[in-house]
């Protein structure tokens, strides 16, 4: 996949993280989730999502390592896709007969939701709120020969 198209594939945002602590009447507001912030992306960054086939994503990573000439790639997963990102990294390692090494990092990503008021007298301001979600960044690399 070319670099230009990849930002269009968003990491999946799980819906379960709506905390009940926020006071919200479901009739009054429509919830719209914005996409997570995009980050500048190198060629060896792979953002894992839940929509694309697992095998295809695995094959893409494999291709980057074998034919793409990259010594290391970064697999990123957000929310629900964390599992899948870990899975991909482990599969890559297993298929390389121990040649590949992993280094995992976790982080927290801030996500933005829009709340649009549906009230009839239309005095409500649209609200935005932020919530946090977990993300994982796994570096898959060939260790240096020394």
């Amino acid at each position: 996949m070319s670099e230009a198209r990849s930002p269009g594939v968003p990491p999946v945002m799980p819906t379960d993280t709506l905390s009940p602590a926020v006071e919200m009447d479901p009739v009054e507001y429509t919830l719209r989730k914005r996409l997570p912030r995009k980050l500048p992306k190198r060629r060896n960054d792979v953002y894992v999502n839940m929509k694309t086939d697992f095998k295809a994503q695995l094959a893409r990573c494999q291709k980057l390592l074998d034919g793409g000439g990259h010594r290391e790639i970064c697999v990123h997963g957000l929310g629900l896709a964390i599992n899948r990102a870990i899975n991909i990294a482990l599969q890559l390692q297993a298929s390389s007969q121990g040649a590949l090494q992993l280094a995992a990092n976790t982080s927290t990503v801030e996500l933005v939701d829009d709340l649009e008021p549906d009230d009839p007298d239309e005095t409500g301001e649209p609200m935005t709120r932020t919530r946090n979600n977990s993300a994982i960044h796994i570096k898959v690399f060939y260790p240096d020969p020394q």
Partner: protein
């Protein structure tokens, strides 16, 4: 005519040679000797009742040709009869039609090269005639030239003449400011009184899609009409409230739009007519409040097909029927009197003072006769006396028609803000000139301290935009006012692709970006001088012409370096309006988000070319249709069958498709009757809605009869009180309910359903829903499960219970429709024969085609004639609706269609369907017998 009494052998042979090429139907009798005499009956053998005499032409009915010759011939009468023929022959021979006859008269060995050029080469006896001919020819050429009045190409391409010609050509259909740029690269269509680019001449469907999803696509939307409303806030709001209903979503009065921070969308209805008689969708923008007065300014942007109705409605609700006749301004150039027709017809345009003084003088002495052409800016087709402003008697409300006064470009794509930040540079202030008064607006603007503070704030926000990665991250509908430098000054030498700056932004910057993403632009930064008509006019009038700018660039010491300082005329107020991307559905959220840029008129090309130089793709009407299709948003005239503009569009489309269909020979046409497609070129929505209302009412009756017999009377009432018009369901609450009911059975959908706590789908809920929306259609998105590409006017049908069994088999893609029989084929042929006989026996009435159309109107081979039978139950699967747009969707990766289905039809279908297959329908293209499974989505 000397008869040979005796024929020798040699003579016979010669005669044979002579008659070798004789046509067979003119025969010369051989046995001359047996009948030596000819009759002198004038040679007309047809009139002679007896045996045939003389020359016989043509085939005779009574067996072969007459072989006998007349016994005798009367020389006098014979000669007289032949005299006229001979005369005609001689005349024909003498007559010279062209000069070539002259030369042809010479034997071959006397012809010379170039005799027509040099008459001396001819023999002397022919010289005189040749001279005459030559002169005649020359005169003819001269005359022709005078008739055509074609000036030389050089003269035609001269700037003034070219402008005159351009002005003449845009009298009927208005040209946008980027017209010439587009006309060189696009297929242009004349639509809605404008010349608009449809699609580029080069192949770029996928590149354009890629531009929309990963970079930026640029469109010229200047043909959208802007209507300005001025007045007290309360008066305006109360007037506008009649046009809309709050059921359909946020209205003109929604707080965030009213403050001027966001652009809003509404669907406009005729005053107080909701839910029937919609006009169409409009976007609107309030000017942020000024500190002192309560007077507000509102811009309503509408599609040109909807403008006239909208203006009439606005006049009605605002009570603004007093037209203000515009004062015809004298043309700005004092020396020249506008004498030509063009200037008289088009006075409400603004003169662009052309060129620097040197060239101007040169031109004025070159063609003093004609006045210099003026470039049309704004609406050139409007006659000067047409009012564009209406005032109110009772209140202080004013309506202004700002059509073509403001240029609007749309940038679609995640990097459109990057393109903007690269192209536009915030206006540099000019302190040096601040002391003296100036006719330009910018120096005056610079004097005001508060305005300069505002300008600084706005430019700060604009700089923050650079740190944003995607346009979709900005709150939807955000507005930002800005003053920018003339972008032509900083034009790159080569086309470069604008890319986001990868470098890490500072933490402080990061915070501000976050603020912008969360809260949007503060209210005071949405203010712009573009709202002032005086500033707009000033900017338009004082634009530096391209030529002058190039001259200034030419004089820069280092070639290709930036022109510094920017000339004082080059400051333009603009408004940037964020366009939200895809807002419905779960997948590909904010796809197709972007920015609109609003400019004062006259500056179109000055901004277009610099934008193009930042590596954007350019799209036309076709791409805007695809954009809304991928965004799952209805596109204006196409997807509004209940609006007058939509009805008109459908009629035009039908005529166009029918015309195309009729151009094929009947044997090569698709026989839609055999394919079971009643209306391949249009969608009889009204008939569908009526039929389904009856069907659903009957079904409800049945079910009620089984449950309780008490409520029979009320359902009867429902049937009798049938409203006449069908409506498209736009009530948000009702749509949300429907959406929950036909929710596809994915895990995600189920969860959302549980959240919204919709009432379960059952008989009671459906009948209460249908009592309000029995004649409604609803806009749905259909996505195909397997392969297949939906096409225009495909049928959406109800699957039978047996069809669901096919779903388990992955190989089978769907059921088949049995071929229908064409009963009209035989009927269509018979009158054709009759009409032929009629033409033979009696007077020639008309050609068979017109006779056919006149005798049996509307019967075209392969099409079902009017009136149509029941549209719902014509095929083996019951029809629910039709699709209005369908294509392979590159965003979804499968065939996707957008169309309308009847609400009662959909609900009765959903009720009967098993839960695991709920929301599963069939789709069939008009040219196919194959049904394909589709999933229905209604998105709010």
């Amino acid at each position: 005519m000397d008869n040979t009494k005796k024929m020798s052998d040699a003579k016979a042979r010669r005669r044979e040679i002579k008659l070798k090429n004789q046509p067979t139907n003119v025969q010369y009798p051989v046995n001359v000797e047996s009948s030596p005499h000819f009759t002198g009956n004038g040679g007309s053998t047809q009139r002679c009742p007896g045996p045939h005499h003389g020359w016989v032409r043509g085939h005779q009915k009574d067996g072969g040709y007459s072989k006998g010759m007349p016994r005798y011939i009367n020389a006098g009468s014979f000669a007289r009869a032949r005299a006229s023929e001979v005369q005609a022959m001689v005349k024909a021979v003498r007559k010279k039609t062209a000069s070539c006859h002259l030369f042809a008269a010479l034997p071959k060995h006397m012809r010379r090269r170039a005799m027509s050029h040099n008459t001396k080469r001819l023999p002397r006896r022919l010289q005189e005639m040749a001279m005459k001919l030559k002169e005649k020819n020359l005169q003819g050429v001269k005359k022709k030239k005078e008739q055509s009045k074609q000036k030389s190409r050089k003269a035609r391409r001269r700037h003034g003449n070219l402008l005159l010609e351009f002005n003449r050509r845009q009298r009927k259909n208005i040209w946008l400011e980027t017209h010439i740029w587009h006309a060189k690269r696009f297929h242009m269509v004349k639509k809605w009184g404008y010349c608009i680019g449809d699609r580029p001449t080069y192949k770029c469907y996928r590149p354009c899609y890629r531009a929309m999803s990963s970079h930026c696509l640029l469109q010229d939307l200047s043909y959208y009409c802007c209507i300005e409303l001025l007045g007290e806030e309360e008066t305006l709001l109360s007037a506008l409230a009649q046009l809309i209903s709050k059921d359909t979503g946020p209205s003109f009065a929604s707080a965030v739009c009213l403050s001027g921070r966001r652009q809003g969308n509404v669907t406009v209805y005729r005053a107080g007519q909701y839910p029937s008689q919609p006009l169409g969708p409009v976007t609107f923008l309030w000017r942020p409040r000024a500190q002192v007065s309560n007077r507000r300014q509102l811009w309503i942007w509408a599609h040109p097909t909807l403008k006239r109705d909208l203006v009439a409605e606005l006049q009605k609700v605002c009570d603004c029927s007093e037209p203000v006749i515009p004062v015809v301004e004298p043309v700005a150039q004092p020396a020249k009197v506008p004498s030509s027709e063009d200037t008289k017809e088009l006075p409400n345009l603004i003169t662009v003072v052309q060129g620097i003084s040197g060239t101007k003088r040169k031109r004025s002495c070159m063609d003093q006769s004609g006045p210099p052409a003026k470039k049309i800016l704004g609406d050139g087709t409007r006659s000067p006396t047409t009012p564009v402003t209406w005032t109110s008697n009772s209140s202080a409300t004013v309506i202004n028609d700002l059509t073509m006064e403001i240029v609007r470009y749309r940038l679609i794509g995640p990097l459109s803000h990057t393109v903007l930040t690269e192209t536009l540079e915030v206006a540099t202030s000019c302190e040096t000139l601040a002391k003296s008064a100036s006719s330009l607006w910018w120096p005056e603007y610079c004097k005001d301290e508060s305005k300069m503070n505002l300008h600084k704030e706005q430019s700060d926000i604009f700089h923050i935009l650079k740190g944003v990665y995607s346009s979709g991250e900005i709150p939807p509908g955000t507005v930002l006012g800005l003053n920018v430098d003339d972008p032509r000054v900083a034009l790159p030498r080569k086309k470069v692709k604008a890319l986001p700056s990868v470098k890490q932004v500072q933490v402080v910057e990061e915070e501000r970006v976050k603020q912008l993403m969360l809260n949007g632009v503060p209210e005071r930064c949405c203010q712009s001088s573009l709202w002032d008509s005086s500033v707009r006019d000033n900017v338009t009038e004082n634009k530096i012409p391209e030529q002058e700018l190039n001259h200034m660039k030419h004089e820069v010491l280092v070639p290709g370096s930036r022109l510094r300082p920017t000339p004082h005329q080059g400051r333009v107020p603009v408004l940037l309006v964020h366009q939200p991307g895809k807002q419905v559905g779960h997948e590909m959220g904010t796809w197709g988000a972007g920015w609109d840029i609003l400019l004062p008129k006259g500056w179109g090309m000055a901004f277009w070319v610099p934008l193009v130089y930042r590596g954007v793709r350019e799209g036309g009407l076709h791409m805007s249709l695809k954009h809304s299709q991928n965004k799952c948003a209805p596109h204006f005239p196409h997807d509004y069958p209940d609006c007058p503009a939509g009805v008109r569009f459908q009629e035009e489309q039908e005529a166009e498709l029918l015309d195309k269909f009729k151009r094929r020979p009947p044997a090569k046409r698709t026989n839609y009757i055999k394919l079971g497609c009643l209306a391949p070129f249009r969608c009889p929505w009204k008939q569908l809605a009526e039929e389904w209302e009856v069907i659903s009412a009957e079904e409800r009756m049945e079910s009620r009869d089984t449950d309780t017999v008490i409520e029979g009377a009320t359902s009867h009432q429902d049937v009798t009180s049938m409203p006449q018009r069908f409506t498209v369901l736009r009530n948000r609450k009702a749509l949300r309910l429907l959406s929950g009911w036909c929710r596809p059975t994915t895990s995600k959908g189920q969860r959302a359903c549980r959240l919204s706590q919709a009432p379960p789908l059952n008989q009671a809920a459906v009948s209460s829903f249908l009592s309000a929306h029995s004649m409604s259609l609803v806009w749905v998105r259909l996505s195909l499960l397997a392969k297949g590409k939906p096409e225009l006017h495909g049928m959406v049908c109800v699957p039978t219970l047996e069809d669901f069994k096919l779903l388990k088999d992955p190989q089978c893609s769907g059921p088949l429709e049995p071929t229908h029989k064409d009963h009209f084929k035989s009927k269509l042929k018979r009158p054709k024969k009759k009409s032929k006989k009629v033409t033979e026996t009696a007077h020639k009435v008309a050609t068979p085609t017109t006779a056919k159309s006149s005798s049996t109107p509307g019967t075209v081979f392969g099409l079902w004639p009017d009136p149509l039978p029941s549209v719902a139950s014509h095929c083996s699967r019951v029809v629910l609706g039709w699709i209005t747009q369908g294509d392979f969707s590159l965003t979804a990766g499968c065939g996707e269609a957008l169309g309308f289905v009847s609400v009662p039809g959909l609900l009765t279908t959903l009720l009967k369907q098993p839960i695991e297959h709920r929301g599963m329908l069939l789709l069939r293209n008009p040219t196919s017998l194959h049904y394909r499974f589709v999933k229905v989505n209604i998105e709010v």
